[in-house]
Symmetry: C2
Subunit: 157 residues, 2 copies
């Protein structure tokens, strides 16, 4: 049996890359004096893509529980970057929107992301990098479904 532990195995490899990238990104963010974390940036990015959305739908799109999203939104709202508005069609629900102020923050986040990408990728040949990104996109598209949307079929514990 050749299932030996190996720091080059897929799981460790990816976690390492993500962890190191997160660190570089965090430093870029801090250097820009942006009052958001990487995970908060992710929430904002999804909001920018979706437009005004109910919280539970946004949570689903992010692959997190509504409760986890509540925490992120609390902080983003306190920072004046998002707003929770009443849904006229359902008085339980809230519709979250990005504030006008968020546009500038999003642009700065994107710039920090680009600097991070340059720092991380600058040892690889550009073609390899593009291929890499392309496969990564395919991969995420493939694994995002089973957990984010369609996993209702088998949550019978």
């Amino acid at each position: 049996m050749r299932t030996k532990i190996d720091t080059d195995s897929f799981g460790f490899l990816f976690n390492d890359i993500a962890r190191i990238t997160r660190g570089v990104f965090a430093r870029e963010i801090e250097a820009s004096r942006l009052p958001v974390t990487a995970a908060e940036a992710r929430v904002m990015a999804h909001m920018a893509r979706s437009g005004p959305t109910r919280q539970h739908l946004l949570a689903e799109s992010l692959g997190m529980t509504p409760m986890s999203l509540t925490g992120f939104l609390d902080r983003l709202e306190a920072a004046g970057l998002v707003a929770r508005e009443a849904d006229p069609k359902d008085r339980r629900a809230k519709i979250v929107t990005l504030s006008p102020k968020a546009a500038g923050t999003l642009a700065q986040i994107a710039q920090a992301g680009e600097r991070t990408e340059q720092l991380i990728s600058n040892g690889l040949c550009p073609e390899d990098w593009q291929t890499f990104l392309k496969t990564a996109r395919q991969l995420r598209a493939h694994i995002d479904g089973p957990r984010g949307a369609a996993s209702k079929a088998e949550d019978t514990v």
Copy 2:
């Protein structure tokens, strides 16, 4: 200027993949009733590669602070998977080793890792996947140096 926020950008992409993978791996680990977390498994994997090592060298190879490693080792030691031995050459130092019991645990971790890899990669064509892994290895080798010098050649005590 194409610095617009984009959930397909490198940072989000990788974080998503790592996060989802971590979730799948955690479920595999739990299904095997292994008493270790992913980060603890990483510590053990590095120990297996390095052999008996002083704590601060292991911490450096893992890219974490000695204090963070202390916590992991406390739990692994309590679980009987690692031992801290006195270094005869320096009474401040401790040399950490894997216990005999660790071998079986490592093998099970490796199996959980393989199942995870299969679950994650089963939508991609195998060639793409191999190319992807290869680039990932290059990438990590490249970014690991600047911050941790992790792949230092000698860790002989």
